[in-house]
Amino acid sequence: MSDDIYREIILDHYRNPRNKGKIAGPDVSIHDSNPLCGDEIDIHMKIEGDKIKDIKFEGRGCAISQASASMLTEMVLNKQLTSVKDLTKDDILENIGLTNLGPARIKCALLSLKVLKLGMVKYYADRDPASAKKLQEDSRTL
């Protein structure tokens, strides 16, 4: 099983994360951690006209959580929030190519998506409370 998980691409994103770092004057910054293992992710975003113009992450944790965060930033950069809003658990697992994780490790893979959703909750809080609420609910299921 581990042979399927720790493939070259995961190790590459783990050791050479894309979009890692801070952004000067971000529109949204958000932090969360996985209480089960202590993995941490911060996401910073610049949003212009409903589009993610820039996204960077900071974090520490396992190869799965960090590679997944790195791949997520690549996936959503320059995307419209409306298209990013509805990203599901399965979208992420397919994107990183890990569809047979156990329940504990799935949490690692989904941490960055959870943080991204919480970031959008913050962004939408005043702009679109209904979306914020839905995203908040979504984030609970991750």
């Binding site: 293992c37 202590g38 504990a104």
Partner: protein, 414 residues
């Protein structure tokens, strides 16, 4: 569709202890179910199976045993959501028992919300677990405790309740849904509505109601519900506190420690998501899993049928016991207004003496104040004898109780 009555013969086969003989050869007649119920084999086996096959600490490890144990533990939480119709698993906190559940509310919600001069309304029929935590809290905060009275007929005085609610000072109502002494089923639906009209949250002590009748927290609309696994076929050491999510989100933690935190730094801590924020330390994993099997067992029977069986046997027992010379029965005369709990006294035989004599005949009843001394004072007795029923009790067992009562009267020459 007509539902059939319980197949008690068949049910009894699931409870190994019911074959037990006591007092040198007497068949056990267990009528102490309001104190704790017996456990079906499926519950005993669930605990056994956990320890034999997948015992592990939960939530924090990635090895297979931990994943299996975590899944089984969380599965019980889901079952409880279904059983009481909660909104989500976030609202279900595992405690040791009803007592801890109520104390959690008193310590966490209570200390944050009760101020000097505030009032908490309870009733004269409450169990000590729904009295003492509020005494401690009101003493600490210089707040006041008010007791809704109970009439000689065993019903609460709803007009008194309404009068108390008129005070703007009332910040909480805490009510047992079924008296563990009188059996009285309290009209909590109506009382919760009355409290909500004044914006007052309500805690329901469901220790006696949840095991014996359908309880739906969304229909009730109560803010808090507390109950114990061991009174509903489950193991000792597990209780449940349900809290409406919007309240729970604002409550400070109760027990600090492992599992209830997200990040601990030297001088500050970020607490965990619901419901884990309220479950500090290694939980009672095996027994929570065992409780899951108990819920399955009850769901399989159906709580409506549990209730019907108890009305049936209680009606029978009320008739028989009230026909015994010198008997006083406490609580509502009508079996449909009460749970399967009958408290009584005979002549000047003290309940402890009566229970000792019953025990000679293999009959387990409870005697004493039943952790309801405020009610004892109100009834002006120091104690009562209490027989209480569950799904496995039969009318023949009631008959055995009746013969033993005759024997007690002979011994005491009354």
């Amino acid at each position: 569709m007509q539902k059939s009555a319980l197949n008690v013969r068949k049910i009894r086969k699931d409870f190994p202890i019911l074959k037990r003989e006591v007092m040198g050869g007497k068949q056990l007649v267990y009528l102490d179910n309001a104190a704790t119920t017996q456990k079906p084999l499926s519950v005993i086996n669930a605990i056994n199976n956990y320890y034999m096959n997948y015992n592990s600490n939960i939530h924090r490890a990635v090895h297979q045993l931990a994943e299996e144990a975590t899944a089984a533990y969380e599965e019980t939480r889901k079952k409880i959501v279904g059983f009481i119709n909660a909104g989500s698993t976030d609202e279900i906190i595992f405690t040791r028992n009803t007592t801890e559940a109520i104390n959690l509310v008193a310590y966490s919600w209570g200390r944050a919300n009760i101020k000097r001069g505030d009032k908490i309304v309870i009733t004269e029929i409450e169990h000590h677990s729904n009295i003492v935590p509020w005494q401690i809290l009101t003493q600490e905060k210089a707040a006041k405790l008010e007791y809704v009275g109970v009439g000689d007929d065993g019903y609460l005085k709803i007009d008194e309740f309404a009068k108390y609610l008129d005070s703007k000072k009332v910040k909480l109502v805490s009510l047992s849904q079924m008296s563990n002494v009188l059996g009285t089923i309290v009209p909590v639906n109506e009382m919760i509505k009355m409290a909500h009209e004044k914006g007052i949250p309500v805690l329901i002590d469901g220790a006696q109601s949840v095991p014996h009748m359908p309880v739906d927290v969304q229909k009730l609309d109560c803010e808090f519900l507390a109950f114990s696994a061991h009174k509903m076929l489950g193991p000792t050491g597990v209780g449940v506190l349900y809290v409406k999510r919007d309240l729970l989100e604002k409550m400070p933690p109760f027990m600090g420690g492992g599992d209830m935190i997200k990040e601990v730094h030297k001088y500050e801590t970020r607490y965990n998501d619901l419901p884990y924020k309220f479950e500090g330390g290694t939980p009672n994993i095996a027994d929570v899993i065992g409780f899951g099997a108990a819920i399955d067992y009850l769901q399989n029977i159906g709580m409506d049928r549990v209730r019907e069986h108890e009305i049936d046997i209680t009606k029978y027992a009320l008739d028989k016991i009230s026909a015994v010379k010198g008997v006083t029965i406490y609580g509502p005369a009508n079996a449909t207004d009460r749970g399967g709990v009958i408290s009584f006294n005979i002549g000047d035989i003290h309940p402890h003496d009566l229970a000792t004599i019953m025990n000679d005949h293999g009959i387990a009843i409870r005697s004493g104040h039943h952790c309801a001394q405020v009610l004892m004072e109100r009834l002006d007795v120091s104690a009562t004898s209490r027989a209480s029923f569950y799904i496995y009790n039969t009318k023949e067992e009631v008959d055995a109780l009746i013969s033993a009562l005759a024997e007690a009267r002979r011994l005491f020459r009354i």
